[in-house]
Symmetry: C2
Subunit: 402 residues, 2 copies
C-alpha cells in the first residue's frame, strides 16, 4: 500500500498553478496575487492633517498657553478633499479637517480642543512644535514601493491595501472552482423519501461546503447513479468549466464500481490503496492534461477525511499557497487509542484548547459511516503509521477541523 | 472616556438575534441552527455490508481456510440501492456490494479478497464470525436522536449530517447581511484618477471583505460625499435590506462630520470616545428598533481594528454565537513596546507561531493611516489599559487576524 505522504507528494507533483485572471477588487477576495503590486503615488499622497483643528505656523503658537493664549486670523476652511487653497503667513491660520491637505506655509496642526473653535479668529491655548499632528506624504508608502508581493493571499487587510493604492482590478490566481459529484444508485436527494435499500446523498453537500471552507468555490454537479455513460458524461461536461473535479463512491472492489471503471486509463488517472484509515481507496489524476480529478471513497467520513488530507492541500497548491493541511496542534489524549499499525489513522475527536496544554478526546464511534461522531467533532487525531498504542496523557498531533 | 469592554457590553446588550429563516441546505452553510434537528429514521436505515464481498451464514464458513476452502452457491447480486431480494439459506450466499442491504438470513460478510470472486458459485478461503463486516441499522444514529442541537454553526461536517438525515431545508439564523458605506468628499473610487487633496476609498472594500471573513455577507453600499441628505438617504435605503450597517468616517470633531450630524438623535445612536488606540471615535445604535449601525472612524487602520473589536463579536451575537473577537494567543515580544496608558492599545504585528512558544514582532509604523503595516501584519498585540511599558521577552495577548 502507498503511504499517505507519497500519495500527497504525487498529487502535489501533478498540480500546476491556475492561470491568473484579472478580477475586480471585491471578487479578488481569497485570491492569490499573480503580480507584485506597487504604489503608483505616495501614501498619503500629500501632507495632511491628523486632526480636526487649525493649520498654523508653529512659531506663531510657540508661546501659547492657558494663561497667555495666542489669537490668529482664520483665513478659511480646508475640508478633506479640498485643494490646499490658502497660504499661511505669520499671524494667520486655516481651519482644517482630518485628512485635509496641509496648506502652504503651515507646519503644525493645533487640535480644535485646544482652541475656542473660532471661524474668523481663533484663540489657541497650547503650543505646538513643527510637524505636530501632520502626516507627511509618503510616510505610509512611497511611490514605487511594492506593497504586496506576488503570492500574497488577499484577505480584508490586503484588499484594503489594494484599494488604497487605487487598484480596481488585480491579477490573481482565483479561488479554485470545484465540481462535486456523488455516485451511487442507492442515493436519494435530501427532501425526497427514501425507499428500502436507499440512503440520502450527503457527500456532495458536505464536500461542496468543505471546498468553501478550504477557500475554493464549490458547486454540486449532483448525484448520479451507477450508469457508466451518465457518470462519464457528467464528468466530461464539467471538465470545461471546473478547475477541479471531486467524485465520491464507486472506487473500491465492487462489481459496480463505476467511477473506477469509466476513468481507468483516462488521462493520468490512477486508482490506489493508501495506507490510511479511513480513506483507503483513492484515485487521482489529471484529465485533459489540466483538471485534477479526485475520486474519493464513498463512506462519508472517508470522503471528508480524504478531502482534508489530500484535496485541501491541492486546492492551496493550485493558488500557489503552501499546501498545508488544516492547522495542526499538539494535545494530550484524554483516553487511550489503539491503531492497527502500518497505516495512518485519523480519529474523530473533540479538542479542548487550553492555555499551555490542549486536551483531545477521541469519539467513540470511529466507523467510516458514522457521520454523527464526525459532525460533533472539531478535530482529527493523527496516529502515525508506526504507532499502535497510545495511552491517556500521551501527546498527539491533532488537525483542527475548520 | 468609555472603556473598550463597556462599549462592547453596550453593543452586545442591544443586539437581538436575527429571526430564523428556512434555507435550502447549500445556502445554510455558515448559518446557525434555530431548531434542533433529529433523525427521522435510523442511520444506517438498514443492516448493510461494509465490504464488497459475499453475504453468508457465518456457520457455513466457520471452518473455511486456505487448505480447506468452502464453496457456496451464489443466489445473485445485491448492489447498493437494491432491496434485500434473496433469502440466504444454508449452503447459499449472495454477492453483495458495500452499502447494500444485508439479505434475510445472512449474518456475516466475506470480503471478495478472501474468495475466488465467483458469480454462480464462490470458493471462500477464510472463516467469518457472525456480524463480521456488517453495519447494523442505527449504529450511527437511532431514529429520534437529536443529531444537531439548536445553536450549532453549520460547517461542512454539519451540512453533511443534515443531508444524511434527509434535510433539504433547515431553519437557521443566517449569516448577517451587512451594508458598508464610506463617507468623505475626498474619496475617489479605485481605478479613477485622484486629484489634489483626494485619496482612494479603501475602507468600504476592506470592511466588506472583513464581513466575509467574520462569517457575514458584506456588500458595498458605496462611497458618498459629505452631503448630509445623501448620507442619510443612503443609510435609510439600506435599513430595509440589511441586517447591519457599517459606515466609516465623519464621526470625530470636524465641522464636516456628516455621519455624526445626520444620525445624532436617530434611534438609539450614541457617539462616544472609547479609550483605545486606534479607534477612539465610535458610534453605535439601533435604527428602526432593529438594525445595528456602527459608525467607525475613517482612518483605515482604526476602521479595521474597530471592526475586529466591536463588529465581529456583534455579528456573531446576531447569530447566537459566542461573541468572540478573533482567536487570542499568548506570545513573547521580540521588541519593546510603549503605550500611553489609560487606553487599550492594539498594535499591528507579525506573529510567528512556534511549538511551545509564539513570538510576536510589533510593526514599526503604528499610525492609524498606515495601511501598509496593517496589510503586512497577521496579528494585533493587545496592550491593556494599565500597562505603559513592555520589554522584549514579555508575554502579551495577541489577536490573530483572519
Ligand atoms: N472487498 C472490499 N470491499 C471494500 C473495501 C475493500 O478494501 N475490499 N474497502 C472498503 C472501504 S475502506 Mo475506507 O475509506 O478506509 O472506510 S471506504 C471503503 C469503501 C469505498 O467504496 P467506494 O466504492 O468508494 O464507495 P461505495 O460507492 O461503495 O460506497 C461506500 C459506502 O458509502 C456510502 N455512500 C456512497 N456515496 C455516498 C454519498 N454521496 N452520501 C452518503 N453515503 C454515500 C455507500 O452507500 C456505501 O455504504 O469500500 C469498502 N469496501
Ligand atoms: N480635533 C480632533 N480631531 C481628531 C480626533 C480628535 O480626537 N480630535 N480624533 C482623530 C481620530 S483618533 Mo483614531 O481611531 O484613534 O486613529 S480616528 C480619528 C479620526 C476619525 O475621524 P472621522 O471623522 O471618523 O473620519 P474622517 O472622515 O475625518 O477621516 C479620517 C481619515 O481617514 C481617511 N478616510 C476616511 N474614509 C476613508 C476611506 N473610506 N478610505 C480611506 N481613507 C479614509 C480620511 O481621508 C482621513 O484622513 O479623527 C481624528 N481627528
Amino acid at each position: 500500500m502507498k503511504r499517505v505522504d507519497e500519495h500527497l507528494a504525487d498529487i502535489l507533483g501533478a498540480i500546476r498553478q491556475l492561470p491568473p485572471l484579472e478580477l475586480a477588487l471585491p471578487e479578488s477576495y481569497g485570491g492569490v496575487l499573480a503580480e507584485p503590486v506597487t504604489a503608483p503615488v505616495d501614501l498619503p499622497p500629500f501632507d495632511n492633517s491628523a486632526m480636526d483643528g487649525y493649520a498654523v505656523l508653529a512659531a506663531d503658537v510657540a508661546a501659547a498657553s492657558e494663561t497667555s493664549p495666542v489669537t490668529l486670523a482664520v483665513a478659511g476652511d480646508i475640508a478633506a478633499g479640498d485643494q490646499g487653497a490658502y497660504d499661511i503667513d505669520p499671524g494667520r491660520c486655516a481651519r482644517i479637517m482630518t485628512g485635509a491637505p496641509l496648506p502652504a506655509g503651515a507646519d503644525a496642526i493645533v487640535p480644535v480642543e485646544w482652541t475656542d473653535g473660532g471661524t474668523a479668529e481663533v484663540t489657541i491655548r497650547r503650543s505646538a512644535t513643527p510637524g505636530h499632528y501632520i502626516r507627511r506624504a509618503g510616510e505610509d508608502v512611497t511611490a514605487g514601493t511594492t506593497v504586496l508581493p506576488a503570492g500574497t493571499r488577499l484577505g480584508a487587510a490586503q484588499i484594503g491595501m489594494l484599494a488604497a493604492v487605487g487598484r480596481a482590478r488585480v491579477l490573481v490566481r482565483p479561488r479554485p472552482r470545484v465540481a462535486v459529484l456523488s455516485t451511487g444508485t442507492e442515493l436519494v436527494e435530501p427532501g425526497e423519501p427514501v425507499g428500502p435499500g436507499q440512503i440520502w446523498d450527503s457527500n456532495s453537500f458536505a464536500l461542496t461546503a468543505a471546498v468553501t471552507e478550504a477557500g475554493g468555490v464549490g458547486f454540486r454537479a449532483g448525484s448520479v447513479g451507477d450508469d457508466p455513460r451518465e457518470v462519464l458524461a457528467t464528468i466530461e461536461e464539467r471538465l470545461a468549466s471546473a478547475d477541479v473535479i471531486i467524485t465520491s463512491g464507486g472506487v473500491s472492489m465492487g462489481a459496480y464500481d463505476v467511477v473506477k471503471e469509466v476513468l481507468s486509463g483516462l488521462g493520468t488517472m490512477r486508482f490506489e490503496k493508501v495506507a490510511m484509515r479511513p480513506g483507503k481507496p483513492q484515485g487521482f489524476g489529471l484529465l485533459d492534461d489540466r483538471v485534477p480529478v479526485f475520486t474519493l471513497p464513498g463512506n462519508p467520513v472517508s470522503a471528508y477525511v480524504s478531502f482534508q488530507v489530500f484535496v485541501r492541500p491541492a486546492l492551496r497548491a493550485l493558488q500557489g499557497l503552501p499546501p498545508e493541511p488544516p492547522r495542526t496542534v499538539r494535545a494530550r489524549l484524554t483516553a487511550p487509542v489503539t491503531s492497527p499499525g502500518g497505516l495512518r489513522h485519523y480519529l474523530r475527536a473533540v479538542l479542548s484548547p487550553a492555555e499551555g496544554e490542549h486536551h483531545v478526546a477521541p469519539a467513540e464511534a470511529q466507523g467510516s459511516h458514522q457521520v454523527f461522531a464526525l459532525s460533533s467533532s472539531n478535530a482529527l487525531i493523527v496516529v502515525p503509521e508506526d504507532v499502535t498504542d497510545l495511552r491517556t496523557g500521551d501527546t498527539v498531533d491533532v488537525l483542527e477541523l475548520p
